[in-house]
Symmetry: D2
């Protein structure tokens, strides 16, 4: 299968490189040319434009948000000129609403659509160890499974309705943000009672909370090391918005998500939007004047 690839940010570069390394022919396109050169050096082909990259059997895309993907793939309707039977694998965290719109659009054009958002940061992507949440028609998923096996350690299939995969990803990112906030509040409380946040977090993350999320962000909070950002706070805010939107669309109140949204807005208002989203802990500390 010939592969087209759109979106060569930190995540995309590692994923595309893994596809190349596995022997696939990969044609790449990116808004800025730098990353394209980098992938070409690894053996990728340079696409002349969006319509060019759509002439492959499979299209991977991983862009920052709904808007970015919309402007690349929907404005001007380039999908009408895609190769017949194209399968689009969208690795990005997009809204449930946009996932539904994309699925319907591809179906109307006789194309396949697989929602395949991933858990894992840049280093995990580079190592081919992502956890992939995939949803789409079974036959389509079966077709692309060998490609997913190249880029991830495991594919979790959650049904044929693409929106389901996005709901899982959005729910998972919400849970990460909630874990950060819980550590933030608890370690501020500990601090106010004479216990070093670092010691408090070490105890908890070595025992009941001995999981990657807690250990990773616990360390960041303990060391107050929020730059460079592994995942920028303003992207965290975006993902909490996606959770609230998804809840709103289905009448699911999410009080924790609301608290998170207000905390992220506070952080952005103070100029911390480009820090790692672990910097949510600064908000809890500031409110306690610590």
């Amino acid at each position: 299968m010939n592969i087209g690839f759109i979106g060569l940010g930190g995540m995309g570069r590692g994923i595309a490189a893994n596809l190349l390394r596995a022997g696939h022919r990969v044609q790449v396109w990116n808004r800025s040319p730098g990353p394209v050169d980098e992938l070409v050096a690894l053996g990728a082909e340079r696409a002349a434009g969006v319509i060019d990259v759509l002439q492959n059997d499979v299209l991977f895309s991983i862009l920052a948000d709904d808007l970015a993907l919309r402007s690349v793939l929907l404005d001007g309707e380039p999908l009408r000129s895609a190769k017949a039977g194209l399968i689009h694998i969208n690795l990005a965290t997009v809204s449930v609403r946009f996932a539904a719109e994309l699925a319907a659009l591809h179906a109307s054009l006789g194309q396949g659509y697989v929602a395949a958002p991933v858990f894992g940061r840049v280093d995990v992507a580079a190592a081919g160890k992502l956890n992939i949440i995939a949803a789409g028609a079974t036959a389509t998923l079966d077709t692309v499974q060998p490609l997913l096996d190249v880029i991830g350690q495991k594919t979790w299939r959650v049904g044929d309705e693409p929106t389901r995969a996005n709901a899982v990803k959005i729910g998972g990112n919400f849970m990460i943000a909630a874990a950060i906030e819980a550590m933030a509040e608890a370690s501020t409380l500990a601090d106010a009672h004479g216990v070093e946040p670092a010691q408090f977090l070490e105890i908890l993350t070595s025992t009941l909370f001995a999981a990657p999320v807690y250990q990773g962000y616990g360390k960041l909070i303990a060391e107050q090391r929020y730059a460079p950002a592994g995942f920028a706070l303003r992207l965290g805010l975006k993902d909490v918005r996606l959770a609230l939107e998804a809840g709103d669309a289905s009448n699911v109140p999410m009080p924790f998500a609301s608290v998170l949204r207000d905390g992220f807005l506070d952080a952005v208002a103070q100029g911390d939007g480009d820090l790692d989203w672990g910097a949510l802990a600064k908000v809890a500390a500031r409110r306690a004047n610590r």
Copy 2:
């Protein structure tokens, strides 16, 4: 060292049995006689009353809340009749304020006080695998360390101010409750978008959240199996109150704890106070009418 032991609930029975098993002389007292008989059968001595059990070198206590301990150990001032130099090891989750009061009282009587709240449920206590958060004078801690080694897998010393241990325990329990609520909201969201809560929770707790707390409560929520309670919801409410009180006393806003409090109150109002505190997930589901 002769040991006195007050409080033979599920946790206390396992802990006292471990002390006996390690060859210590243990004298037990409990409000209701049944558990006393059980421990006597294992080799414990029966104390005639509270003053009797205070004639040992070390006193362990593990009672349900501040009020229970206050009525046993403070009303009528039995501590004035305790053996000289008694060391009191309090394993219970009490308020920061009460811990400070107890520490001052024991000091005024020339007695030692160790705050040693524990993480772990009944089965962990029975297996001697508790995580113990300990605070008190170093010499006193050194004296009782061999006993703590019998009942726990690790003792985390957090300083000489007893209140610190309580702040850590309270912060930790708050984090558990927050994890339950995060799973509750996220799995309700997933459910509303066509993903089985069981599948959603399995994905998350096998990967980013592969920690005991998430796996244990994730399973409970997935199976909606809240009885019999491992830890009763009304005790969870008590612990969230302790977090809010500790925050209030030191000007630490805790918005997540407030959300938890309101959720627990809602659950208790609907008659679910005796279920496991994982039943907090019923509140999220009910509010979404799912």
Copy 3:
């Protein structure tokens, strides 16, 4: 000045009738024909279509939400065929973002745009006693002021940037919702302590809170009389969303608005979306099992 009028719901009918009564020539258009007949009987002219109604000097519009106005006035670009120099007075509560888009669009076509959302329900509109929050170019406002004087008791000018008027209206509606929630929580508390909500609310709304909003909604809550709806709960949810969006766009955390959103979602999930938004009080009562 010849007047076009779009949107003959409960509010629009009363406002258009007042313009007719004041001697103006009013041409009306509405998606459903019934209300058009009613206004024609009062002396209005029937517009053949949207482009027809745009051939007047001034266009009033009052539609339910952003989407409705967008589909009528933007889809198919009818504004390009409007009378030169048309002034559009938008009485509806639209989002700050959409207000900015509309203002820019009209300016680009050489047309005037006045944001003029109103406070007041159907009976107030019929009596010509609305409070109008108006923003737009001063000269444009001066031109239409005589018309605004016909439909309202007072016009509050808040500057030349149309979005400002929408921010005021959205902030005001948020305050009404907050007043409802405050009464809901407080009267549930009173009830739980043996005080009839009706008595509690009478005391407060006769004294410190002797204002129309509190007296009106206090009575509704006391009598639990939520149908027929004066203002439907699902429209209240829409307005709280507008407040949250406006806050999000400018980094303003709004914790009260988040609580309101979750309460409204809960109510809609239980099937109460068509009740009056005073029915938010049912949520507080249900959570306390009263």
Copy 4:
């Protein structure tokens, strides 16, 4: 009837003066002597001590919080030496729990107890225009009604269970705090969209919210004039705690009260505890970095 009076703060001085002015014999006691001299100059008698002031037919008390009243009236059990049949009228905002304790204690001593918390600030007290919320046995209330008529413009009787009056007062103070927060969030939102808070608040408080609470605090917020405090922020925090406690005791979730508590704690943490509680608006502004 001879009257004893305890608590000569700003409120108490005005109330006691009104009783004197109406021709009653009033014996006063206060922890600090200054205010006593002031009242004696107006014709009051100086009590030698607490037991002395309890030798009257009626005792008014108005102290800052539960603790203050407990230390004066319960420690050392002076009530056992009070005049037979004493009626205690407690004008202060105390907790529901303490009100119940006091009522039971007085009953056990054959004394009457009237819970009579008041709405109104210092100037209202001085003018004899308080709104009094009263609960107690009907006969007892009838006996003291002439005295209540002297100090207030209206007495609202809410039943024979004294706690009811406290629930009403606590619910009312919560509603005031909620009104402040609603104005704070909304005017911050307006400000962020180019509308002066002063203009925004003038519009709302002249129309839908034309009530004393909104006009008074709206003006404070518009002018950012928080000192000297009419009612100190830390007392506002105390009253929100009372609401949360009362809700907790009867399983009533109060999400608005939780938001308020966290906002007040934030303000106190930043050193604003002695400002007027209208300064809650500083918290909303700070979180939006405005």
